[in-house]
Structure formats: structure tokens, C-alpha cells
């Protein structure tokens, strides 16, 4: 008997599970069209690698994530790609997102599949690659890419692998039926994951309200080290943190991940998908979905292709269009309402409740909080829901954060028990959203300030450099003038005492100067410049050329950068900022080049005007 711990709080809402466990899992068949969102997982969206009009085979990869985190999307059946466009996807906001629509051709023709009979002969990385290429992401809720989850950080050894079969939310029976009917695949998938992770302990946690599933898994794990832990039915025992506490007595540190305490949780459906990917080479193209609620005549579980419109499943379950008042995707505690039944089943879709108005009635109007503390009694995270509520309502977000707002798992237990029917979870979501928005805003403001300060510093530095150069020039000019005067004075003083040697040297100098002038005059580009034997223009002219060249180079580089920046901006690329910096840098370079050039020109002009009167 596995030792169990209890978690704080929790509630016992009516289960309503029996209505969907009476029938075996039915095959939902192939609908008229399939809608495959490119983002069904946490991470970066996949990019389509097929074209509209292309015929694809069942299991063929349709989209993949090339850079970043994510998993591919596969064709659930053979058919023709009809469009790649925005469609409503399952999301609390009812938003539309990029989807591939596939028109099935009815042939259900498979592509080439690679099966592995002995995965143990492969490298672990190879098996992880198979899991990734099968497009498997967590099927319990969040949809985290499974291959990444199965490769925890090097310093985090997973000693306990938990398969989460608690399924604590009312109504949902998808995992229950999967365990009953596919126990062997569940265990096979668990074994593969255990082989990858090498944990010391493997546990399947199941709530005690699923006796058939428990029996099936007991049979399937006979003779293995895998423990079947039957946990008392209490919502939310299937919450990752709660199940870990029940099975290990340990708590996941706030802000951490289970791997921090050597634990990993995987979903039942994910285990089946892993087994199918490895042994059959079947990518994740279908899943079990519970269709339930009082507005369907034949509630139950369906093996549905990913991309199947919910509408299709509701019809198969015998929906009574007049009776349905709300469609909930997920369970009644944490699920969200749908605006349309046209959204497709995705990898994380576990349940759809077609509820009548009497089944899930509108909550009574909100009353004042009477601080009864029922919410704190129910909170599985041991938070102070009513204080959080006060602070959220008063927009005192700092205080709400101090009371660990971000540890809230939004299980809804507090709202469920609230005698004043205060939508507490909604207040927490609001507060979290506001805090996140503020943080993003703050980050943006910080970056802008940094940029501004950097620019100010640069401008100041340039100003100083300019000033310094100007001073140097003034100093040099003053020195030169002083020297000239001193020489003139000296010459005047020494004029009478000119000796033969001096006369001779003067003659030599004159001869040299003549020769030099002659040589300069013979150079074609120097033709326009007035011959100035004593001035050094010969040195300055190539300087100007170099500067001009430098300027034009900088100019063209700036143009390129500007072009790239415009493109990036148009495409909303994330390197915009980098490019902006580059443009600014090049802009400076051009400016500097221009300054240097004009300076040089000035100098040259000054030099030529200065040198003339001497001769």
C-alpha cells in the first residue's frame, strides 16, 4: 500500500461522471473537414510546410517549428489542404488563429510509418526525437512539449515519475475511459518515459471513484515495479502540485517546477500517445474527448481526430440544440465557455460540456464578502483568498502579490464555496493580468530610459571630443603663430650676421623647393591646386579622398541598415531593436565622417589661403 498524504483544503463538488462512462469509447469518424491550429502547444507556433491544394497522407507532417520550442502538426487523415488561414480556435478569448484546413478524401491513406520494436536498443535522444516528431505535447491541459519535459535540466534528477490519472474535475472521464480501455498502452507509454528518465519510483495516481480504471491498471502493471496509488476523491487532487503532495508528501517550491524536487508528472493520454508514437510510428492525430452534459442525449467518450470540429462530436452525441445554454471546454471548475461550436478538437481538448440552463445556472448576484473564511478552508494552496480578493478589488496589487497571488492555481474551489457568490477567480485573473501588464510596461519603460541615457551620454561625449579637437586646433594655431613670430624676430636679429654657410644652405633650400614644386606641377590631379611649395597640401589631399570614401561607405551601410530595419518593422520581427541600434550607430558614423570631411576641407582651404601670401 502506497503511503499517501493529504493536501490542504479541497472540495467535493457533484461528480456527474457516471453519465459519460456508461458507453465505451466511440470512434467519432472522419468529419467533412478538419481544422488544425498551428499552435496547439506551449511555445512557438508551427509553420506550415505544405501548400494549399496539396494532397497529404495520413500522418504526414503539415507544419513544424523550425526555431524555438514546439512540436509539429500532422495530417489526421489523407486529403487535400484547403486553406491556411485564421479560424476560431479553442481559447478563453474566443480568438482566431492560424489553422490548416484539410478536406479529407475518404481514403484514409497512411504515409510511411517507422515502427520501433525495441526502443531500448536506441539512444535516449533518438526516442525523444521520435516523441517530438510525433507532435506530442502534454494532453492534460497546458500542452507543454513532451520531449522537452522529458529532458529535465542536468542537475535535476527525476526520482519519482507520476502518471496523473486522478482526473478530479467533475464530468470529465476521458482519462478514466482511456485507462479502462487502453491500460496496456498507458503502461507501455509509462515504461518508455521511465526508461528515458530512469526514476527510482513510478506511480500512477488515480482517484478512488474510478474502480474499473484501477482494476484495469492493476492488471496491466502486474509483476512490475509500478505502483497504483488510489487517492481519495477530492477536488483538485489532480492538480499537479496537489497530486505530488498526495503521493510524495513534498511540495513544489513556489515558482519552481516539480523536477526541482525530483518529481515529474505526465498525463494518461500523453503516455498512450508516446506508446503509439514509438511502437506504431503513429503521430498524435487523435485523442479521447468526453462529450457530456444534459443537453446531449448520448453522452460519452469519443476517439476524435485532432481538428474535428466540436460541432461534429456534439452531433454524434445527440445534441439538443434548444436545450444547450452554455458550452464549456474542459471541466466545470476550470474550463472556459465557447462562443462557437465550430472550434476544433486540439491536442489538449479533454472534455466538452453541453450544459442546460438548469444544469449550470447563472451564478446569483455577487454579495458583500462576510469574511466567513470558507474560501481559505477550500484553498488547496493555503492562500488567503478573501484578502487577495480585497486587494485585487482595491487594485492594491503589491499587497496581493505579497500574499502570494501568483501561487494561485485558479482551481476555482474558493469561488465554488463562496456563500456570497463572489467570482473570486475572476478577480485573481484580473489582478494577475494587471500585474503582468504593469511589469511589461515597466520593462519597456526601463529599456526606453536606458536607450535615452545611452544616447545622451554619446551626444555629450561627442560634444566633448569636438570641443577637445577645437581646443587642440586653436592651441596648435597659436603655437604656430608664436613660432613664426619668434622665427621672424630671430631672423631679423640674425639678418645681418648671415654667413656663408647660411647663404649656401638657403640656396640649397631654394633649389630643393623648386624641384619639389616642379615635381608637384607634373602630377595631373594637382593641376587645379595652386602650387604651394612651403605648405603641405600634398598630405591633405589624399586625406580628403579617404574621408569622402569613408563617408560614402558609411552612407551606403546606413541605407542598407535602414532598409533592413524597415523590413523588420513591417514583419514585426524581434530583431527590430537590434537593427534600430545598428542604424543609429551607422548614422553616427556618417555624421562623424561628414564632420571629419568638412573639417578637412576647411583646413585645406585655410591652408591654401594661408600659404599664398607667403609667396
Amino acid at each position: 500500500m502506497t503511503q499517501l498524504w493529504d493536501f490542504a483544503g479541497g472540495i467535493h463538488p457533484p461528480e456527474h461522471k457516471d453519465i459519460s462512462t456508461e458507453r465505451p469509447i466511440r470512434n467519432a469518424g472522419v468529419p467533412d473537414y478538419l481544422i488544425l491550429p498551428l499552435q496547439q502547444h506551449i511555445g512557438d507556433p508551427a509553420e506550415a510546410i505544405v501548400e494549399v491544394g496539396e494532397r497529404v497522407l495520413k500522418g504526414q507532417k503539415l507544419a513544424d517549428v523550425k526555431t524555438g520550442m514546439g512540436v509539429p502538426v500532422h495530417a489526421p487523415t489523407s486529403g487535400v489542404i484547403e486553406s491556411i488561414a485564421d479560424f476560431p480556435v479553442p481559447h478563453p478569448s474566443g480568438m482566431a488563429d492560424r489553422c490548416i484546413t484539410l478536406k479529407p478524401d475518404g481514403e484514409d491513406q497512411w504515409c510511411q510509418r517507422n515502427t520501433v520494436t525495441d526502443y531500448r536498443s536506441l539512444e535516449r535522444d533518438q526516442v525523444l526525437q521520435i516523441i517530438r516528431d510525433a507532435g506530442i505535447s502534454g494532453m492534460g491541459g497546458a500542452g507543454f512539449p513532451t520531449n522537452i519535459k522529458l529532458r529535465p535540466p542536468r542537475d535535476r534528477k527525476v526520482s519519482t515519475l507520476i502518471l496523473n490519472g486522478a482526473e478530479c474535475e467533475p464530468y470529465i472521464t476521458a482519462d478514466d475511459m482511456t485507462m479502462q480501455e487502453k491500460a496496456d498502452e498507458v503502461v507501455a507509454g509509462l515504461k518508455i518515459m521511465a526508461w528515458i528518465l530512469r526514476p527510482e519510483r513510478c506511480v500512477i495516481g488515480i482517484e478512488d471513484n474510478k474502480p474499473e480504471a484501477i482494476a484495469a491498471l492493476r492488471k496491466a502493471t502486474e509483476g512490475t515495479q509500478t505502483e497504483i496509488a488510489v487517492v481519495p476523491t477530492k477536488y483538485p487532487s489532480g492538480g499537479e502540485k496537489q497530486l505530488i503532495q498526495i503521493l510524495t508528501g513534498m511540495e513544489v517550491p513556489s515558482g519552481g517546477i516539480p523536477a526541482d524536487i525530483g518529481v515529474m508528472c505526465q498525463n494518461i493520454g500523453t503516455a498512450v500517445a508516446v506508446a503509439q508514437a514509438v511502437f506504431e510510428g503513429t503521430p498524435l492525430i487523435s485523442r479521447v474527448v468526453t462529450i457530456t452534459g444534459e443537453a446531449v442525449r448520448e453522452p460519452g467518450n469519443f476517439e476524435a481526430l485532432i481538428g474535428t470540429p466540436i460541432e461534429h462530436l456534439l452531433e454524434q452525441a445527440g445534441i439538443n440544440q434548444d436545450a444547450v445554454s452554455r458550452l464549456v471546454l474542459g471541466g466545470p471548475m476550470m474550463g472556459y465557455t465557447l462562443t462557437t461550436e465550430a472550434v476544433p478538437v486540439i491536442k489538449t481538448t479533454n472534455c466538452v460540456i453541453a450544459a442546460t440552463a438548469t444544469e449550470l445556472p447563472a451564478p446569483p448576484p455577487e454579495q458583500p464578502c462576510i469574511r466567513c473564511g470558507q474560501c481559505a478552508e477550500a484553498c488547496p494552496m493555503e492562500l488567503l483568498p478573501q484578502q487577495l480578493f480585497w486587494h485585487a478589488k482595491a487594485t492594491e496589487f503589491e499587497k496581493a502579490e505579497h500574499l502570494n497571488l501568483f501561487d494561485c492555481i485558479e482551481c476555482g474551489a474558493c469561488s465554488y464555496v463562496c456563500p456570497s457568490s463572489i467570482p473570486l477567480v475572476q478577480y485573481y485573473r484580473f489582478a494577475k493580468g494587471e500585474i503582468r501588464a504593469q511589469q511589461a510596461e515597466q520593462l519597456k519603460a526601463d529599456r526606453a530610459r536606458e536607450r535615452f541615457e545611452a544616447r545622451q551620454a554619446r551626444l555629450e561625449r561627442e560634444q566633448q571630443e569636438k570641443e577637445l579637437r577645437r581646443k587642440e586646433r586653436a592651441k596648435a594655431a597659436a603655437e604656430a603663430a608664436a613660432k613664426k613670430q619668434a622665427e621672424a624676430e630671430k631672423a631679423a636679429a640674425e639678418g645681418e650676421a648671415v654667413d656663408e654657410r647660411a647663404a649656401k644652405s638657403a640656396l640649397v633650400e631654394q633649389a630643393l623647393a623648386r624641384k619639389k614644386a616642379k615635381a608637384e606641377a607634373s602630377q595631373p590631379p594637382a593641376a587645379s591646386a595652386p602650387p604651394a611649395p612651403s605648405a603641405p597640401p600634398a598630405e591633405e589631399k589624399p586625406d580628403i579622398e579617404a574621408l569622402e570614401k569613408q563617408l560614402s561607405q558609411a552612407q551606403s551601410k546606413l541605407d542598407t541598415m535602414q532598409g533592413m530595419l524597415d523590413d523588420a518593422k513591417a514583419q514585426q520581427a524581434d530583431n527590430v531593436e537590434k537593427l534600430e541600434r545598428a542604424v543609429a550607430k551607422n548614422h553616427d558614423r556618417v555624421q562623424r565622417a561628414e564632420e571629419a570631411l568638412s573639417e578637412a576641407r576647411e583646413k585645406l582651404a585655410a591652408g591654401s589661403t594661408e600659404s599664398q601670401p607667403t609667396h
Binding site: 452554455r326 471548475m333 472556459y336 451564478p363 462576510i370 488567503l384 502579490e401 505579497h402 501561487d407 477567480v425
Partner: protein, 349 residues
């Protein structure tokens, strides 16, 4: 078709505030029944009158505050305040004493602070304390003599007439000092055996009172069983009282014995029905224990060394003051954290 759009959770338990308050009313019935059986019609008349005044003043204030009257009246909280005052006031308290208590409870202590959920002090106890200090004669001389309803207690009509007459003091033969009062004042000059000769103590601990307290205890246990109140406040309350009594007052010739502390006066009513008012109590389990214990200790202190024979109202109000302080220092430790985060952001708490 358009589906209902709603934020999760979609399911709700069906126990609104009105139902919670209704259960409090129901759980108090055994106590009211015992009071009526042992002390006559006074409490029943007071309860009905106080509830009526409470609802009327609540409605009037809601109207003044431009709040939906029916919506708030239906939550039954005004009725509970009226009930608690009716159960606590002396049986023959003149009608205007009760009215002042109820009106100040509802108008001042509750509605002027912002209505349900916003009052820092227990409304019923504010009303009680106000009339206790304002009308000491009416509040101390009108306690009924313990006499069975069918055997010696004044009839319904007589009782009603007495209360309605508005006389400060009721008919002398009908009233008697309460056991706590009697013991407290006599023990300084008498032995315990002599004091207990007084008819107010009867055969058991305190005639009539013991049954009233037992009935409130039963009602309170029902509330705990229904999870309408948690056990922490009553446990702290009674625990504080018991520990104080055992530590300081074990000599019955000097101090009121523990049995009287527990079974006379408003102890059980206070522990299970008054101190557990959630709005003005501490919130965490630890905080509730401290809050309850504080009330128990204060009750003992005031009963033993203070001027008042019973002290539930003052003790509750004093601990109401301490609630923000208690809450500040007793947050629960959140899952995944090493220790509780006390106080407010920035402070070391």
C-alpha cells in the same frame, strides 16, 4: 445560437449567505427554547421584537444609502443580529432598551460602517455594550427568576405588558440576580457553601442557566457539524476561559468556580454564536484560535477582577480591535513556501 459566456468555475455550491444565516437562526432555537422553558416568555418576546426592529432599521438605512433593500434583507444577517440581542438582553428589559440596542447595532455598528461585511465590530455586541453602560439599572435588575414556564413564570400577557410598559425595573418578585453576579459579590464575604444556598443556583450548577448553556452548546456543535462555523474560535474561547479559571480561580471560596463560568451567563451563546461572527473575527485558523482565546481570557479577567458580572460583549469588542493585528501576524504558510509571508509588502513583519 449564442452560448452563455461565463468565467470559471461554472459550478457553485448551493449555500448562499442567506442559508448560512438561516442555519444560525435554526441552531439558536434550542437555546431560545431552553430560555423560554426556564425563564418565561421574556426572551422569546425580545427575540421577535429585536428581529423586527433590526429588519426595519436595516431596511430604512439601506433605503437611505440607496441600496437594493430586498436583496440585502434577504441575506438574513439583520435577523441574526436581532436574534443575538434578543437572546442576550435581560428577559424583562424595557422595550426601548432593546430598541436602542438593536438600532445602534444595525444603524451605527453595521450600516454606517458600510453595511454587511464592512463592520469592524460585532454589531450585536456594540448594541449590547451601549445599553449596558447607558442603562445599568435596566440591564442588571431585569433578569428573570428561574422558574419553569408552566410552574411559576409570569404569563405571556403579563410579560409582554411589563416589557411594553417601559418601566426601568420590572416586578420585584419576578426577577433575581444572575448566578455570576450573585457569586461574584457574595464570595468576598461568604464561603462558597453559603453563597450557593441562594435560589439562583438551584440544585445543579446554576438553575436554568445550565440548560440554556447546554442548549447553545448543542446548537453550536450543530453549526460546526454543518461546517457553518469552524471549531477554532469556540475552542480558543472556552480554552482561554478554562485555562484562566484553572490557573487563577481554583479556590471556590475566593473565586467563581469553572463550572459557573462555563454554564452560567452568556458563555456558550458567546462562544458559538457571537464570537464566531465572521465579519469581525480573525480569518486564519491560527488567528481564530488566538482571537477566541483572547476573548476567553478577557472574559475571565473582567468577570473576576472587573466590574461586570458577565463580560462577553466587552471581551468580543476588545478582541475585534485586535483582529487586524492578529490577521497581520497569522497568515497561513502557502504551499511551496518555507514560511508564511507576514504583514504588508516591504515590512519584515
Amino acid at each position: 445560437m449564442a452560448f452563455v459566456q461565463q468565467s470559471s468555475p461554472h459550478a457553485h455550491s448551493a449555500r448562499p449567505t442567506s442559508r448560512v444565516m438561516l442555519w444560525v437562526l435554526i441552531a439558536a432555537l434550542p437555546g431560545l427554547l431552553a430560555q423560554t422553558l426556564f425563564f418565561g416568555w421574556g426572551n422569546l418576546i425580545n427575540v421577535v421584537f429585536c428581529i423586527a426592529v433590526a429588519i426595519a432599521s436595516e431596511a430604512a438605512l439601506l433605503k437611505l444609502r440607496k441600496k437594493p433593500v430586498a436583496f440585502f434583507i434577504k441575506d438574513n444577517t439583520a435577523a441574526v443580529t436581532g436574534l443575538l440581542l434578543g437572546l442576550s438582553l435581560p428577559q424583562f428589559a424595557p422595550w426601548w432598551v432593546s430598541a436602542v440596542a438593536v438600532i445602534s447595532a444595525i444603524v451605527v455598528a453595521k450600516q454606517l460602517y458600510g453595511g454587511l461585511g464592512s463592520n469592524p465590530f460585532n454589531p450585536a455586541m456594540v448594541g449590547y455594550a451601549l445599553v449596558l453602560v447607558s442603562f445599568p439599572v435596566a440591564m442588571t435588575t431585569n433578569w428573570a427568576e428561574p422558574a419553569m414556564l408552566w410552574d411559576g413564570a409570569p404569563g405571556f400577557g403579563e410579560t409582554l405588558a411589563t416589557i411594553a410598559s417601559g418601566q426601568q425595573t420590572a416586578v420585584d418578585g419576578w426577577t433575581m440576580a444572575t448566578p455570576l453576579d450573585e457569586y461574584k459579590h457574595k464570595i468576598t464575604t461568604h464561603t462558597a457553601a453559603e453563597v450557593l444556598n441562594h435560589p439562583t443556583f438551584g440544585e445543579g450548577v446554576a438553575k436554568g442557566w445550565e440548560w440554556v448553556n447546554a442548549a447553545f452548546l448543542a446548537g453550536g456543535l450543530l453549526l460546526i457539524g454543518l461546517r457553518i462555523i469552524s471549531w477554532h474560535i469556540p475552542a480558543g474561547f472556552l480554552g482561554g476561559l478554562i485555562v484562566m479559571s484553572l490557573a487563577f480561580g481554583s479556590n471556590a471560596d475566593l473565586y467563581t468556580p469553572l463550572s459557573l463560568h462555563l454554564l452560567a451567563g452568556g458563555t456558550m451563546l458567546g462562544a458559538f454564536f457571537i464570537a464566531t461572527d465572521p465579519v469581525s473575527a480573525a480569518t486564519s485558523h491560527q488567528g481564530k484560535l488566538i482571537y477566541g482565546a483572547g476573548i476567553g481570557i478577557l472574559i475571565y479577567l473582567i468577570r473576576t477582577w472587573g466590574n461586570y458580572p458577565d463580560a462577553v460583549a466587552f471581551s468580543v469588542l476588545l478582541m475585534n480591535f485586535a483582529v487586524p493585528f492578529i490577521d497581520h501576524y497569522t497568515p497561513p504558510r502557502t504551499y511551496g513556501h518555507h514560511k508564511a509571508r507576514r504583514g504588508v509588502p516591504g515590512s519584515q513583519g
